[in-house]
């Protein structure tokens, strides 16, 4: 069996330096083992039988024919799940394998394991499932008046507001100041966001290996090893230590690997057959194999003085959570807490509701609720600027929040939040001159597909500001452990279960260890659950902060121990925690302690677009951004996060949407679900604004999410400038910018 990553020597680099990735060379030579590249002697191939219906009762489930197929070693159904029958990231509302009812298109119903992938495919087709289709709940606005999709309201009773309506996952209301306060002017709008997919390139995959003693090792691409273990073990009816999760090479994540994919399924098959079992989804299966970004509808009213000071912001946010809870409860609250953006306003009423439907399940994706609300509220800021005849950048500066100001939750901003500086620096970036026409078709909107001489090209410049929290919130105080082994010769081994998903946390950990121990002789052991405690999730722009904190603590502990004269090998594990948070009041959405959120980050972005209004084609010409990063631990990686995060926001602005019909996904392929290519992405100029966060190690903030939060809003702002159209829905369709 090939391990994911062997413990290798480290290239040099301390905190703050531009560091080449440690895994860069194996990744460019093809040697790096992704979870889909793993194999083991005697390995079987697993396959999942999934529901073709969005909502149906299972009337009959017959596996007898599949069991007789050549090469088949096991066919499993819900009856074969030995422990807990359901699982979930926060609430166990999702069946491991559906028993009597399926609630979304692609829900797992049965499993097969066979010698060859093709045999597994044929056996899967031979599993006979008779469904009785049920009326699907597909409109989020009607969900609260329809039959409940879950019995017993699985997410209620956890300190959330008790909302008695059917199919409410969570609702929250933030009441700040006087929610009826009037301004001199008011602008209103309704905004819509389609379903976006993480579309990581490495499909869900992993290898489950039985240990011969009833336990199992699972090598899988994931974002949080220990939370996988804690969901898998109860379903297998095993103690946690008998389930060991190892990080398989991860081909991108972006939130889509927070929830389980093949982990329990692979382990069930491996334990049943006593053989290693590999499961690899194809692209079509991947589209139903993970959760998506919540589609949303957002109603807004912004009231302001004639001078442009915000007086009152009223927003109603509706999110479609799909069939199962995933992390929807946290997304609901995040959408509300950051809905207004980084602007000071004394009065606000923000209501946010997420509902269960039979649409594809939604959960975490880069930006986590703030992407949707940023698109809506930044459009509102542009509208307000137009209404008042104020420059949109000036309007934002006039309302920019600063440390000491109160969030709508009543939490004061402590620490760093350089909103005005970020806005000024992004606005000061020089915009390229318009390019003359005619020109090469590849530089026209639509690229080579543009058959004109550019007669219909109109240019626009847009601006937006994005705002989001760093780390987990509302009393969900996770931690990160690091274990450092300092050898007699001064070299060290670091254990940390932080998931390297491509973002570069491996290099952060190594940079911190080299800096703290003052040596280049540091290696990082492969992440796994058996050797170190939880690192928490590679999510919420938290991993750099938390892993750096834990590594720093453990390094300092071994160094102190050595200084005390202890000889030989020193092995110390330390757990790092960020400042404690507490829940929001369920009725008012106000803080119940010092804080509900740990820290915040802000990014501002300026965008130049061209729209061919004869053809409905768009081209993003240039993007300039300034982002609050606290301290850039590895500036090369920070720039990469900004550029990549911006591209994902561009995708949502212009092309990315999962299409459904009666809950069925109709575009589950890269032919039909489009993500930005090299021809879609413009140059990106990024300014890193370093204003250290006092509570964070080295002052470093996470940097992955703010660019995604802001770029959709900024690009559509530029499209509005080019076309004069309202453009209240993303992705913007060609027919919305054509024929002016």
């Amino acid at each position: 069996m090939s391990a994911t990553e062997t413990t290798t020597r480290v290239p040099l680099g301390r905190v703050g330096e531009r560091v080449e990735r440690r895994d860069g060379i194996p990744k460019v030579t093809g040697e790096f083992a992704y979870s889909s590249d793993l194999s083991a002697a005697g390995m079987l191939w697993g396959r999942t039988i999934r529901s073709p219906h969005a909502h149906a009762r299972i009337v009959e489930l017959d596996i007898s024919e599949a069991l007789r197929m050549p090469g088949v070693h096991a066919v499993l159904t819900h009856e074969d799940v030995p422990g807990q029958k359901t699982y979930g990231l926060e609430f166990p509302d999702q069946p491991v394998l559906a028993a009597d009812r399926v609630r979304y298109f692609g829900e797992a119903v049965a499993l097969v394991a066979a010698e060859e992938p093709e045999q597994a495919r044929r056996a899967a087709a031979a599993v006979r499932v008779v469904y009785e289709p049920l009326e699907p709940v597909t409109q989020m606005e009607r969900a609260t008046e329809q039959e409940p999709l879950h019995e017993g309201r699985p997410t209620m009773g956890h300190g959330y507001r008790d909302d008695p309506r059917p199919n409410v996952v969570r609702s929250i209301e933030i009441r700040h100041g006087d929610p009826d306060a009037e301004g001199d002017v008011s602008v209103s709008g309704v905004y819509e966001i389609g379903i976006q997919d993480q579309a990581f390139l490495g499909p869900e995959s992993g290898l489950a290996v039985p240990d011969g003693e009833g336990g199992v090792d699972i090598y899988v691409a994931t974002q949080w090893l220990h939370v996988d273990r804690d969901q898998v073990a109860p379903c297998l009816n095993l103690p946690p230590e008998m389930v060991r999760i190892h990080l398989g090479g991860v081909g991108g994540a972006f939130g889509g690997r927070e929830d389980l994919s093949m982990q329990i399924h692979g382990a069930l098959l491996a334990l049943e057959t006593n053989r290693p079992v590999k499961i690899v989804y194809d692209r079509e299966e991947s589209f139903v194999g993970h959760i998506h970004r919540h589609p949303a509808r957002i109603w807004c009213e912004h009231r302001a003085t004639r001078e442009g000071k915000l007086v009152n912001v009223r927003m109603r946010i509706l999110l479609d959570g799909g069939a199962y809870a995933s992390s929807s409860t946290a997304v609901t609250s995040n959408a509300a807490c950051f809905a207004i953006g980084p602007y000071k306003v004394d009065n606000a009423l923000i209501e946010s509701t997420c509902v269960y439907t039979n649409n594809p399940p939604c959960g975490a994706m880069r930006g986590f609720g703030a992407v949707q609300t940023c698109f809506a509220s930044e459009a509102q800021m542009d509208r307000l600027a137009a209404e008042l005849g104020i420059d949109p950048v000036e309007l934002r500066l006039l309302n920019a929040m600063a440390p000491g100001d109160l969030l709508p939750t009543g939490q004061p901003i402590e620490g760093s939040l350089p909103v005005a500086e970020v806005i000024r620096r992004a606005a000061a970036l020089p915009v390229p001159e318009p390019e003359a026409l005619p020109r090469e078709a590849i530089r026209l909107p639509g690229g080579a597909g543009n058959t004109t001489r550019g007669e219909g090209v109109q240019r626009g410049v847009g601006f937006a500001v994005g705002f989001k929290n760093i780390c987990y919130s509302e009393g969900f105080d996770d931690s990160t452990a690091a274990r450092v082994i300092l050898r007699e010769d001064g070299s060290a081994v670091v254990h940390c279960a932080a998931a390297e998903v491509g973002q570069g946390v491996t290099d952060v950990i190594l940079q911190v260890a080299r800096t703290e121990l003052g040596t280049d002789e540091v290696v990082l052991a492969p992440p796994e659950t058996a050797t170190v405690a939880s690192a928490g999730s590679a999510s919420a722009s938290r991993m750099t902060w938390m892993a750096a904190g834990a590594t720093q603590l453990a390094c300092r502990a071994v160094a102190e121990e050595r200084a005390r004269g202890t000889a030989g090998e020193i092995d110390i594990e330390r757990v790092y925690r960020h400042p404690r948070t507490t829940p929001l009041d369920p009725e008012t959405g106000q803080i119940t302690g010092e804080r509900a959120h740990v820290a915040f980050a802000v990014a501002a972005m300026r965008v130049v677009v061209e729209v061919d209004v004869d053809l409905g084609l768009t081209r993003v010409v240039w993007i300039g951004t300034a982002q609050d990063v606290g301290k850039a631990v590895n500036p090369l990686a920070v720039e990469g996060q900004i550029e990549g995060g911006t591209a994902q926001g561009l995708g949502l602005a212009l092309m990315e949407e999962i299409q459904t019909r009666d809950g069925l996904i109709t575009n589950a392929s890269f032919t039909d679900y489009l993500i930005p290519t090299a021809l879609d992405m413009p140059p990106v100029v990024s300014e890193l604004v370093e204003d250290p966060e006092p509570d964070a190690p080295y002052g470093a903030k996470g940097v992955g999410e703010p660019p995604t939060v802001v770029s959709t809003a900024a690009i559509v702002s530029a499209l509005r400038d080019a076309t004069g159209r309202g453009l209240t829905r993303v992705p913007v369709r060609p027919d919305e910018v054509v024929g002016l």
Partner: protein, 154 residues
């Protein structure tokens, strides 16, 4: 069926079934998992290889079609321990994040620079537009291509 082909300069044989793609044969029978499978329909370029020097998506070529031909995969670019200049440039420029697209992009870039040693920015964008990357936003990939082109000229 049994096929004989040259892979990364070495004669190889493999048993494949009639409908098997070159990508599957490379990854499974020939044990070269460097070429990646991300879409299975020629949209993402993660499986890019050179077939008799031509850039192809190996998921769209049948293994049987490669019988008697020569294939270069990402594993065949480096000269022993010495990285190909394109590989070196991808690491140096920060063009690698999760890296799943990287093997395909490295092969596609090597093919581009073979054909056009001093590509314009438009040429680079067009040449790489068949290779999807979800992490980097392509900015540092363009840097890497320009860096590699410079290195290879000197």
């Amino acid at each position: 069926m049994r096929i004989s082909l040259t892979v990364n300069g070495e004669p190889r044989e493999a048993d494949v079934w009639a409908g098997e793609s070159l990508l599957t044969a490379l990854r499974d029978a020939l044990e070269l998992p460097g070429s990646k499978n991300a879409c299975e329909q020629g949209e993402c370029g993660s499986c890019s290889v050179l077939l008799d020097g031509e850039l192809v998506c190996s998921c769209l070529v049948l293994a049987a079609q490669a019988d008697g031909h020569s294939v270069t995969t990402v594993e065949g670019l480096a000269d022993g321990e010495k990285l190909h200049p394109v590989q070196r440039a991808f690491v140096e420029a920060g063009a690698v994040q999760c890296g799943f697209c990287t093997p395909g992009l490295v092969v596609a870039t090597a093919a581009l620079l073979e054909r056009s040693p001093e590509p314009s920015d438009d040429e680079i964008r067009e040449a790489l537009s068949g290779n999807l990357c979800r992490c980097t936003g392509y900015v540092k990939i363009f840097d890497a291509v320009r860096l590699a082109a410079g290195t290879m000229r000197t």
